[in-house]
Symmetry: C2
Subunit: 358 residues, 2 copies
């Protein structure tokens, strides 16, 4: 049985989307139990609409709901210990739940998760991992916005975190890892990216395959299973891709309604268009995963509907079932056991002087 | 009459694409003259195929051709003074041409352009500007890869350069400027981006309207006319968008050929699909513009065909005709005349302490 704590007050629609999502999810995974945190007057009416939830949901009233526009520091000040967001995270810390899901604001959720769960030993900073649909399937991209900038060791941590997530979620035994970089020779890359590449190359971890640098267009191609970057460029890449997808969908809609002929064409091809819509459905890959904390927190998109929120729960469920945290801990241990190899890095680096990265 | 210098040896296809592009372009703009640099044995056979070019092209043989995989330092070492790339750039410096177009490798072209033309007075570093198709039209995004990282003053320079290009190319009197950033409150932004925002806000230039921070998905929406960022995230945004567009085009092709019905639909809607293809045609927005140098250099995509290369020439032509360099110089002068206002920044900043950016 997997136990899931839910912040019912997050997102643009709150319990009106979250509660129906629980019902949708429970049909798929009847072996789940929920602890739902929120304001009673908002959540009870929604719960009443889904009698099927009664035996699987424990509801806990919280006076405070973190607002979508609260700054992280405000949220912590007003919501620590008593908001639905805090309590949902805390349920993971207290061992009452295996994973926490919230559609609340990202900054507040990360601040609270960090404060409450703390980062794992040997991890400097947590990251937010996104699942990116590619032409080959799905890849993981991290960090997409937990923090700005990262040094080489933090990038290596992200590689380990993302690699463990890839194995837990997609059952890829040795996921391939790429460091996001720009392709122009010689101005190629920030020093920290280059150094991270060297560390990954020389430690030769059994849990992952370091493939070298990748560029922005490699993400959608699925060139590697895990794309590692710091939060600024990761966030920009993610939002740029979302924006481009919306832009093209708009072009397509406009093109299909431009003439009678195109409308007839649309009518015949509507099955294909539905398949395409399915393929481009951002709800299916909804959910940013907070990695590097002592517990799993999944951030659902704030504007999503109940299908999207249910997809975020799916994600949390799968990661718990596949023991994500254990895998990360094992990989970290492995990495630090290989540390003596790292000490060889200085020598190796001198040997390789002038040799470029892939 | 506008005089254009051409590096015929650049790109994946060299003169086989470049020369036909000249013919295509000349039909549109018969008032142009070309100086074409390249290896005689490669260029002459191509020129022979287009007798219409004879009266408009001066050909100059160069022994050396910079290769697509040459590192900038190699290219400079072997090609300075004698390669087709160098000579084409130098023609601008010597006043023999108004603009230089090359499909050669970006790093080498930038290194040579910088070395030969030098950066403008009061500009620290050049930038590469891309034209980005948006749902509202076209925006300019810079820097997309001239260099990694930028301090606040360099970002402000980029805003001025991009603003001038927007006015020269799109006749927008006061283009709106946005600084690319991430949206999470409080971890929001790198210090240099914040500081650039403050400088732009307090100088209140007549030549542009500073609109605040924008995010990755704002680029495709056309939220602002000019998106300013440093080369690492700019390059990643550009390539990620290109990758996403290709990915979706692939999905669409697959969907349309999946069944008889969808093929029939495609047949009826083929006019609409052609319009869509036209809309998504990357060749039309082909050309990265090197800004901040004492002369205009346009970098065409290396893999483009003759239509794409002709579009890059269009771009160079328009910028010359609309006196881009004069505009940049005027804007820079204006900015530095406003410098006394900048000195008020320290005080203004103290007043505004704690107040967020848009």
């Amino acid at each position: 049985m997997i136990r899931i704590s839910i912040d019912a007050m997050g997102g643009d629609h709150g319990p009106g989307v979250v509660v129906p999502a629980l019902a949708t999810f429970l049909e798929r995974r009847p072996d789940s139990r929920f602890i739902v945190f929120g304001r009673q007057e908002a959540v009870h009416p929604e719960l009443a609409k889904f009698p099927s939830l009664a035996s699987s949901v424990e509801f806990i009233h919280c006076d405070v709901a973190v607002r979508m526009d609260d700054k992280p520091s405000q949220a912590l000040r007003h919501g620590r210990g008593k908001s639905s967001m805090w309590r949902a995270i805390e349920a993971v810390k207290l061992g009452q739940a295996d994973v926490c899901i919230s559609a609340g604001n990202t900054g507040a959720l990360m601040a609270m998760a960090r404060f409450c769960l703390r980062t794992m030993a040997k991890i400097d900073r947590p990251a937010i991992a996104a699942i990116w649909p590619t032409t080959r399937g799905e890849s993981i991209v991290l960090d997409v916005g937990a923090s700005i900038g990262a040094d080489a060791h933090q990038l290596v941590d992200f590689a380990i975190l993302g690699g463990a997530m890839s194995r837990a979620l997609f059952q890829i035994e040795r996921p391939t890892i790429g460091l996001l970089n720009v392709g122009v020779e010689e101005i190629k890359g920030q020093e920290e990216v280059k150094e991270a590449g060297q560390i990954l190359r020389y430690t030769e971890l059994n849990s992952l395959v370091y493939q070298g640098f990748v560029e922005g267009d490699d993400i959608g191609k699925g060139t590697v299973d895990v794309v590692v970057t710091e939060g600024f460029s990761g966030n920009i890449a993610l939002k740029t891709a979302e924006g481009t997808a919306k832009q093209i969908a708009g072009y397509l809609r406009a093109a299909m309604s431009q003439s009678l002929m195109s409308k007839i064409g649309y009518f015949f091809a509507r099955g294909a268009f539905n398949a395409l819509r399915e393929k481009m459905d951002v709800r299916k890959s909804n959910g940013g995963v907070f990695l590097g904390l002592n517990g799993i927190v999944v951030k659902s998109h704030g504007g999503t509907d109940h299908e999207g929120f249910a997809a975020a729960i799916d994600l949390g469920y799968d990661m718990v079932r596949n023991r994500l945290i254990d895998r990360i801990e094992a990989d970290l241990q492995l990495f630090h056991a290989h540390r003596h190899q790292l000490s060889a890095l200085g020598r190796a680096r001198a040997d390789e002087e002038g040799e470029g990265e892939a």
